[in-house]
């Protein structure tokens, strides 16, 4: 897919057992009243960023919904299905209404140079976010990475230039990768009930985030336990 839509929209509306792969080969899609890129129905959708190309998705704050009960889509790239971002090209997301990239199912960032500026979360999943590659630069008014259930970072470079909370999920597992977070509140955060003193759950800014700092909870490990393992995030501040 290549070219420009000044005010347009890409919609994936396949069957629930169908997978769709969309290669962005220099595509620039903007919309002023809704999301410029929506997955309404599919099993999985992979967005491939073609080598050497820059692709842009941008919206505005002025979304218009079909009726009062509807508040979705609410992201510049919005998916109701499993979503994967891959490739070696560049994706610029300018999310002025709410989130930059949002999936109501799983979300994998496997590759690409991804630059997101979002009015709410830069990358949001109602389920899980898995990062296995790529070079992401994220600026958000709320969370840079937010998943309701689980965030796993296995590889890649993640630079959060602006956020309220950097990475927020019930479980956060950092196995590797080069991570630099600037947040006005917690760098890593789990939004569940905290033990009496912050131990497992909150790694405050200005405190190094290392595996050894997150181990003396009086709670037994559970599904709500965040874990920081492997490499130490750099530039913690």
């Amino acid at each position: 897919m290549s070219g420009t839509l000044g005010v347009g929209r890409i919609v994936v509306d396949a069957d629930s057992d169908e997978n769709v792969r969309l290669i962005l080969n220099g595509a620039d899609i903007a919309n002023s009243t809704t999301s410029p890129f929506v997955v309404d129905n599919a099993s999985e959708v992979m967005v491939v960023l073609a080598e050497g190309t820059t692709n842009t998705l941008s919206d505005t704050a002025g979304y218009v919904f079909a009726d009062a009960e509807t508040d979705e889509p609410d992201a510049a790239l919005f998916s109701t299905a499993d979503l994967t971002i891959a490739g070696t090209g560049t994706l610029v997301v300018d999310g002025n209404f709410n989130d930059g990239i949002a999936s109501k199912d799983g979300l994998v960032i496997a590759g690409g140079t991804i630059d997101i500026d979002a009015a709410d979360d830069a990358v949001h999943s109602n389920d899980t976010i898995t990062i296995t590659g790529g070079d992401s630069t994220l600026a958000s008014a709320d969370d840079a990475l937010h998943a309701d259930a689980n965030i796993v970072i296995d590889a890649g470079t993640i630079t959060v230039t602006d956020s309220y909370e950097g990475i927020e999920s019930a479980i956060i597992t950092i196995n590797d990768g080069d991570i630099d977070i600037t947040s006005s509140d917690d760098g890593l955060m789990r939004p569940l009930a905290m033990p009496p003193a912050p131990r497992w759950g909150v790694l405050e800014p200005n405190r190094p985030a290392r595996a050894s700092t997150s181990c003396t909870s009086t709670e037994a490990p559970s599904a709500s336990t965040p874990r920081v393992t492997g490499s130490t995030p750099t530039g913690w501040r």
Binding site: L5, M46, D82, V108, T128, C215, T216, T218
Partner: protein
């Protein structure tokens, strides 16, 4: 082939052993002593023991929510199977019948690579 794989069953099978191994490793690495522990050594060791003994029952639940739908085969396709879509400012055009165009809205209705 990618189009017909029921991925939910597939990734769940392949991922579980990795995650279990990982979380067990974390339990071993979490040697404790970050300075936050005000409960005393006896309490701490009790917590550690109970934590280890519950690994087997709690970790499968954790691994079950990890959704790694992305697989190596997903990253392979034949360029000859790609259907081009051209965006031309106010409208678009597309090869084949997997994508329909209505004004400036491109709707992809079939599995495939575009």
């Amino acid at each position: 082939m990618w189009y017909v794989i029921p991925h939910k069953e597939q990734h769940g099978m392949s991922l579980r052993p990795i995650v279990v191994a990982l979380t067990l490793g974390v339990a071993l690495l979490s040697g404790c002593g970050s300075g936050e522990d005000t409960t005393g050594a006896a309490d701490a060791s009790t917590v550690d023991t109970s934590a280890d003994s519950t690994e087997g029952s709690t970790k499968p639940a954790v691994s079950g929510v990890v959704d790694d739908h992305d697989e190596d085969i997903d990253h392979e396709w034949d360029d000859s199977d790609v259907s081009s879509i051209w965006l031309t400012e106010k409208t678009a055009s597309a090869e084949g019948d997997g994508a329909s165009i209505d004004g400036s809205v491109v709707t992809i209705t079939s599995a495939g690579t575009y």
